[in-house]
Symmetry: C2
Subunit: 473 residues, 2 copies
């Protein structure tokens, strides 16, 4: 892909080269040609901490005291963090995060906290601990469900309706599970909205090819930034109900809806507010994760799924699927903190809410700023994002570059990203990884990064893009 080293994939969010950066620069020039940048900045995936975003202090304080219980008596940690740690240690066997998780589907206490969060979020719609499965990352919970749906060959092979563009990991997951990807195109001109006619069209294409059993939705959209309104969600639910499809609602970015007038609405809530005709019938699995925008705790690897209306035998399978292994304990405790954060009467509330506000403000301002910036560049058109942490601008590339890519045997958006990486040390994602097969090219970037980091990335992208236009006038 490129001549850069693994170790280069560190990004610091500061323009002044640190001593380490300077050392790396030297190393590089000793090894080969000098690069015009000190360090690779990678915003191709959703990994906010790598980009320099800070963790939520309360989460880390609680985890630290769980890991090293001597800290329970240290005044340096806030009282409520220590109390929470004490409570959480109480649900670990032997009061240690080093004991196996009580069950393969998650610590019952944490499952219960998750359901309480869901009920608060959804205006009281009930939620049962038996419907929760905790795992190490939503990539894994999703894969568990996909595996379960796999069956048949040829015409009878399970198909999953998949948005185009979709999260860049999804095609791999479908493939691993042995499922057929059935693409439905999102409407770029309408900010990547889901369109009912397109769902019907996509379904018709499956005739004689595969047996569609589920529809996957990412809302808020990865990588689109689209946020569905109630009407759109209702349409998808009715569609799933009529066509007998399982709804796979990837709601990992439910905590990051910032578009004006937009609200975060879960599929579960809308489903239950549509009445028993739907709420008793439609099979829904909703995914959430520590890799959410506000937490950004991707490396901890913790996630849950909530299942609605699944067959009890299927549910049993999902709850046993991780046995005889079990999910790590610490991420489960972090999940508990995520779904049950400090409340106004807690000492940590002020810091907690300031930190969340800061990261949400950074995110929404970055999204807007980056979108405007990109739209000012000739040959780039970016839909504004209303939620989530990505932008997915369209590239109108010079025909000569498209030709060159063809000759090199790569997609033109891949070539664009490769050149950008080599020349400017900025790693973006190529749209084709998100399953895009239309004649337009796209790039993907995560905008949840400190604002000066984003500035630097945009500045480098700017230089590169202008040079490109000069090269191919």
């Amino acid at each position: 892909m490129s001549s850069l080293q693994e170790g280069d994939l560190i990004l610091r969010g500061t323009r002044a080269p640190s001593r380490l950066q300077a050392a790396r620069g030297t190393e590089k020039s000793a090894q080969g040609a000098e690069k015009p940048f000190q360090q690779v900045m990678d915003v191709s995936t959703g990994d906010p901490h790598r980009a320099g975003m800070k963790p939520v202090s309360f989460v880390r304080q609680v985890l630290a005291a769980c890991v090293y219980p001597k800290l329970l008596d240290e005044k340096s940690l806030p009282l409520d963090a220590r109390q929470r740690a004490n409570t959480l240690l109480g649900v670990c066997s032997g009061r240690s995060v080093g004991s196996y998780s009580a069950t393969a589907y998650g610590i019952p206490y944490v499952c219960k906290s998750v359901t309480e969060f869901i009920m608060r979020r959804d205006g009281g719609v009930s939620s049962n601990p038996e419907d929760i499965v905790i795992s190490s990352g939503s990539t894994k919970t999703l894969l568990m469900v996909l595996h379960l749906m796999a069956s048949g060959e040829g015409e009878t092979r399970t198909g999953v309706l998949t948005p185009m563009p979709c999260p860049h990991t999804l095609p791999t997951l479908l493939n691993m599970a042995g499922l057929t990807l059935v693409p439905y195109q999102l409407l770029e001109d309408q900010g990547w909205a889901v369109e009912l006619d397109e769902l019907h069209r996509a379904l018709r294409t499956t005739r004689g090819h595969c047996s569609p059993r589920a529809i996957y939705i990412s809302n808020p959209g990865n990588p689109t930034g689209h946020v569905q309104d109630r009407k759109s969600i209702e349409e998808v639910i009715r569609f799933a109900a009529t066509e007998g499809l399982v709804l796979l609602a990837d709601e990992v970015y439910q905590d990051s809806v910032y578009g004006q007038g937009k609200e975060s609405l879960s599929y579960k809530r809308v489903l239950f507010e549509m009445g028993k005709e739907y709420s008793k019938k439609v099979e829904l699995v909703s995914f959430h994760s520590l890799s959410s925008a506000c937490m950004g705790e991707c490396g901890l690897r913790g996630a849950y799924m909530e299942a609605v209306n699944l067959d009890p035998a299927v549910m049993k399978y999902l709850r046993d699927a991780q046995a005889p292994s079990s999910p790590p304990v610490l991420p489960q405790l972090a999940l508990e903190v995520m779904v049950n954060p400090p409340t106004p009467e807690d000492p940590s509330y002020k810091t907690y809410s300031q930190e969340i506000l800061h990261s949400m403000t950074t995110l929404s301002q970055n999204a807007q700023r980056a979108c405007e910036f990109l739209n000012d560049l000739s040959g780039i058109k970016c839909q504004p994002a209303r939620g989530g942490i990505f932008l997915f601008p369209r590239l109108h590339l010079p025909p000569q570059m498209v030709e060159e890519a063809k000759m090199l045997g790569v997609e033109a958006d891949v070539l664009y990203c490769q050149r950008l990486l080599e020349e400017e040390g900025v790693r973006l994602g190529a749209g084709c990884e998100n399953g895009q097969v239309d004649p337009n090219f796209h790039i993907r970037l995560c905008v949840l990064a400190p604002s000066d980091t984003l500035d630097e990335i945009l500045a480098r992208l700017h230089s590169f893009h202008l040079r490109l236009l000069e090269r191919f006038p």
Copy 2:
């Protein structure tokens, strides 16, 4: 199985009922019949922290500072723990344990530390980071390898030679991967030694039934406590070489060899000391884990495997197998500490070595004491353990009890364990779970527990066993 609740599976290692225990006792009597015990003591699996063993302080101090980097400046943590945490944060993207692991097979720095540990352990035999794969638990690394070996149906279905008894999770793993378990019997009378003739016999039985491709060994033995000497390991290696079998060496308890005159010898070392004829040829995968005896960090979920002589394509598959997900970061950092503990010049060395010594002494004394105690009970015969954390005593059960079990449709060892749990609140493992199919019955117990906890368990077992003998004289 029993009328006990999940929440009961907490064990405190003290005879005097704590306030919590007293509360639980009351709860129970309110819910149903009063039990003659306050709390269930579970030593059916290898989960030392659940049994009340303490974590190694240095490991937890480093992790705490990695989780909450403000602690890097706190004098309350030892300097070397903070320095280590600082180093480890340096190998995390964005200096956060919340960033995704750099690669799906593990952080390169940690892989490197693992190889340095292996080289020190094996007297300099070389070890390459490219041969290491890190995952969340050796149950998972093992399953990855098993999955890879699966192929064929009927006669051509992959078979794995499996010791009887074997770790109680292994039959499930083989089944999940679609492999045929080919049993070879360990010699109970010789302390559960591996016998070459028996390996040949087992292999002969596969003709026309399956296609044997690997042999699994647990050394030190789970649940047997057997430790192979060099000669025995050489025999197995020669057997694997001649028969073209992959060697799967589960060496999770390599840190706990305590039998007099016994040494901890890795399969890799012996293989390389047998000369190139073997070391260039035999395919070996060795497993190690944070769930080892001295660490006991089962709940963190961290493990590595080292592969020797595997086909590069196979190795590539194993390194990619976890993508697009990746192993949690924190357990990888804990692994680094496990393989690279404090050395004599470090401030934490004294505490570290005292803690390790304490747990090793507890383990070896417990193993010996429990073995003698069990052998004093009429109808129980226990082989002495030389390593590992389990004992696997044989039960000579009264014929009437065997009859009763038959009528109830359960194995007699299962019935024994059920009754023991119901009457005394002690959970042991039934030998049949370890794959034992011979006419003898066994029970499995983990002896890595605080010594007063073990006392209590043995006392309860004693009362139960005597009552049993009275009931069936």
